[in-house]
């Protein structure tokens, strides 16, 4: 065990910063063009546009340390916007369970960020209990396509998505985890209706999506019929790791410290306030621990192991810390946490802080609520049996 960076790692860090600085957005530039060019340039570096993809599919094949360096360096810079659903979520499933034809058909567009994806999992009656989903996919008599009917909810960015990866029910027999089928289909077609849900912060990112007789060719089915649950479960573990956001939290905490230093408290600043200071310190301690939990998890992944129980720890702790940072930001704003609706009043971080705090409440709900995460750890790690529990 040691934590010293090798000469090669230090060189890698320099290469990363040179790339990021050299390709940074310049004010006035056409953003959409810059964005696609950025990914192109990153691809030319040898898979830097898809750091987590396996080398066999064009990923860079980085060591855990290199991933860690990349995350650290990118957390402090403005990268082009990127939804997690394509590169991070559906692509690994297509790589693992899709056939060669599907891989050739979908992966290039996902990688180029020219097609936006959304995730059709949760339903009004199937939230934490995802396997209770009811959206029906019926195979046509000639066996050429499925007909999909039902509703999805909390579908992030469905309103701008071109494609959806969707869990559907093809059979109601046996256990509810059986009979679930993984389908891919376009969003912009008749029979797909997207309605916005306005969340606490007043913003529109999630939606309900209704399907009425949507035809999906069988070649858009991933893997076998009825095995979708197995495929999705692997992805959920993957998704949960990605939600920890350690580097981003470290950056956010530093920012909060700077901001609090400018908030006056008597003759000093908020940083002289003992209770604020200790909250800040406690957050930092938790993050220092989580940073190493993540490194341990990365090392395990590099050794070829599946994301393990630590991925559940990552999501639980990571989201809790994100929420606490958001909350402490509102406390730093004091009376100025209340103004809303674009009022620029008080410290410049105040209104964004409140927005983040409200938005952060969803972090412990989506991607597997914290209560479900704890069930998973209890069952899979501690080997405990739950009473009256179906999962």
């Amino acid at each position: 065990m040691d934590i010293e960076l090798s000469k090669a790692d230090l060189e890698f860090r320099e290469e990363v910063t040179a790339f990021l600085d050299g390709n940074a957005y310049k004010p006035g530039e056409d953003y959409a063009a810059w964005r696609l060019n950025w990914f192109k340039a990153a691809a030319e570096k040898g898979g830097w546009d898809v750091p987590k993809w396996p080398a066999a599919f064009g990923g860079p094949g980085w060591t855990p340390t290199q991933h860690y360096i990349w995350e650290q360096e990118t957390a402090t810079r403005n990268l082009p916007w990127d939804l997690p659903f394509g590169v991070g979520m559906v692509a690994p499933i297509i790589m693992t369970y899709g056939n060669a034809e599907q891989q050739a058909r979908f992966l290039p567009d996902i990688r180029a960020r020219t097609v936006n994806w959304c995730q059709g999992y949760s339903e009004p009656g199937a939230g934490s209990d995802l396997a209770a989903l009811k959206t029906k996919a019926e195979l046509s008599e000639d066996g050429t396509h499925y007909v999909v009917n039902g509703s999805k909810i909390w579908t992030t960015m469905a309103h701008i998505a071109d494609w959806i990866f969707c869990l559907t029910r093809t059979s109601s027999e046996g256990k509810k985890q059986e009979g679930i089928t993984f389908l891919l289909f376009p969003m912009k077609q008749d029979g797909v209706e997207v309605k916005p849900i306005i969340t606490l912060g007043g913003s529109h990112t999630v939606n309900t999506v209704h399907f009425t007789d949507v035809k999906v060719p069988v070649e858009n089915r991933i893997g076998e019929e009825g095995k979708g649950w197995t495929y999705a479960k692997g992805l959920l573990a993957h998704e949960r790791t990605g939600l920890a956001g350690v580097s981003r939290s470290l950056v956010a905490l530093e920012k909060l410290r700077r901001q609090a230093g400018k908030v006056k408290r008597g003759n000093g600043s908020l940083l002289d306030d003992p209770s604020f200071k200790s909250k800040l310190a406690r957050l930092e301690i938790d993050l220092k621990a989580l940073e190493y939990t993540e490194l341990r998890s990365l090392a395990r992944a590099a050794a070829g192991a599946q994301p393990g129980p630590e991925s559940s720890i990552m999501k639980l702790k990571g989201t809790e810390i994100q929420q606490r940072i958001a909350l402490l930001t509102t406390e730093a704003a004091g009376p100025f946490a209340a103004p809303w609706g674009g009022a620029s009043v008080g410290p410049s971080f105040a209104s964004g802080g409140t927005q983040s705090y409200l938005g952060s409440r969803a972090y412990t709900i989506y991607g597997g609520a914290s209560e479900v995460q704890k069930d998973i750890i209890a069952k899979n790690v501690l080997g405990l049996k739950a009473k009256g529990k179906a999962s």
Binding site: S275, T330, E331, A338, G341, A369
Partner: protein
């Protein structure tokens, strides 16, 4: 020892509860919050007719001679309905100052106008640097001939833009943090040099930034003793803190009860959510925090009724717990409602946001913990 409401207080509680039930459905509230004014003038007229606006004023002033306990009764019910009208700003804050002033013609006229529903008030104390320290004042009033000239900025003035009169704390002598040397002034929002920038707050209420630029006022704009405004402010702040705590308690009750009901109806894993022990225990904790808040609210309110300012430690204890418990209950109500909890569609999110704002008013949980420990 008796913690029951008197017959009169019970009637008052029933009447406010009925008003809330009749006029404050989530949909009705949403419409009002989105309107230009942000509340209803018709409701305000009813408040006057029902005597609620006359509640804290003494019988000599033509009021009902209500106590802090009556204010608690009203505010708790308002908390259950998330009332938008400027009752707190006008009656508790503005009225709280007016009733503490020595007799004068203008005092009588203003109190009458408030009670009749013709005058709304605001209290402007917060400054950019002050956080919740009422004695941290840099905006000034300078003697000028027979009157004063006012200069400075006040922030997050609750319902400032709909007020007919704004009571402003200004420095008339001493340094930035001196309690001695703060005076209260009556400012007409329409006077020259007064500007207001109005905006909504995250809970759907309204506030404003107040700027005073060389505002000339006559000598009778000074309210109460010159340099002696802090004592009045401090007393009003105690009442305000209790009133907000009572409102918070009402919101907490709705949140924990709605959550208990929701989890019994929502099925996941072939069981109602309420079957799961971990969720049951969470709701038990929400309930316990609520009951503890209620106890401290009673304690602080009764002590304040009896001992006045000597009760300030209990008042801080109460606001601290309201801050902490309000956060715990609010966040868990949202969490247990799952995705639905983070939408604008359910009442849950709106109560959660009101509790969030209550913690930003007259001192948050940490602020009052520090005051308590001092």
């Amino acid at each position: 020892m008796n913690f029951e409401l008197s017959e009169e207080q019970q009637l008052l509680q029933d009447s406010v509860a009925r008003f809330v039930a009749d006029h404050y459905s989530l949909e009705a509230r949403r419409k009002l919050a989105d309107s230009t004014l942000g509340y209803s003038e018709d409701h305000w007229k009813q408040f006057a007719e029902l005597g609620w606006l006359a509640l804290p004023f003494s019988e000599e002033d033509g009021g009902l001679g209500g106590t802090i306990i009556d204010a608690m009764v009203v505010m708790e019910q308002f908390g259950k309905g998330l009332i938008l009208e400027p009752y707190f700003a006008t009656v508790i804050l503005g009225g709280g100052v007016l009733k503490r002033l020595p007799p004068s013609e203008s005092r009588t006229a203003r109190i009458n106008a408030v009670m009749e529903g013709h005058m709304k008030l605001a209290l402007a104390t917060t400054e950019l640097q002050s956080r919740w320290d009422l004695h941290d004042v840099v905006s000034t009033a300078t003697a000028d001939g027979d009157g004063f000239v006012l200069n400075g900025t006040k922030s997050v003035v609750l319902h400032g833009a709909s007020a007919d009169g704004i009571i402003v704390s200004l420095r008339t002598q001493g340094g930035q943090f001196d309690k001695d040397g703060i005076s209260l002034f009556w400012v007409d929002p329409k006077a020259e040099g007064v500007s207001l920038k109005a905006y909504p707050t995250v809970d759907g209420l309204r506030a404003a930034e107040l700027t005073l630029e060389k505002v000339s006022v006559p000598s009778d704009a000074l309210l109460g003793p010159l340099h002696g405004g802090y004592e009045i402010l401090d007393a009003v702040a105690q009442e305000a803190t209790l009133a907000l705590s009572a409102e918070g308690l009402g919101a907490m009750e709705r949140l924990y009860k709605d959550t208990v009901e929701y989890t019994q109806n929502r099925e996941q894993f072939d069981h109602p959510l309420s079957d799961f022990q971990t969720l049951q225990h969470r709701m038990v904790e929400m309930f316990m925090e609520y009951e503890q808040c209620k106890s401290l609210l009673y304690r602080a309110t009764l002590e304040f009724a009896q001992d006045g300012m000597d009760a300030s430690k209990s008042v801080s204890a109460c606001k601290h717990l309201v801050g902490v418990a309000g956060r715990f209950i609010g966040e868990n109500a949202v969490q247990l409602h799952g995705g639905m909890g983070v939408t604008e569609e359910l009442a849950i999110g709106h109560y959660f946001k009101r509790l969030f704002v209550i913690d930003t008013q007259f001192g948050n949980a940490d602020y009052h913990l520090e005051r308590y420990a001092a």
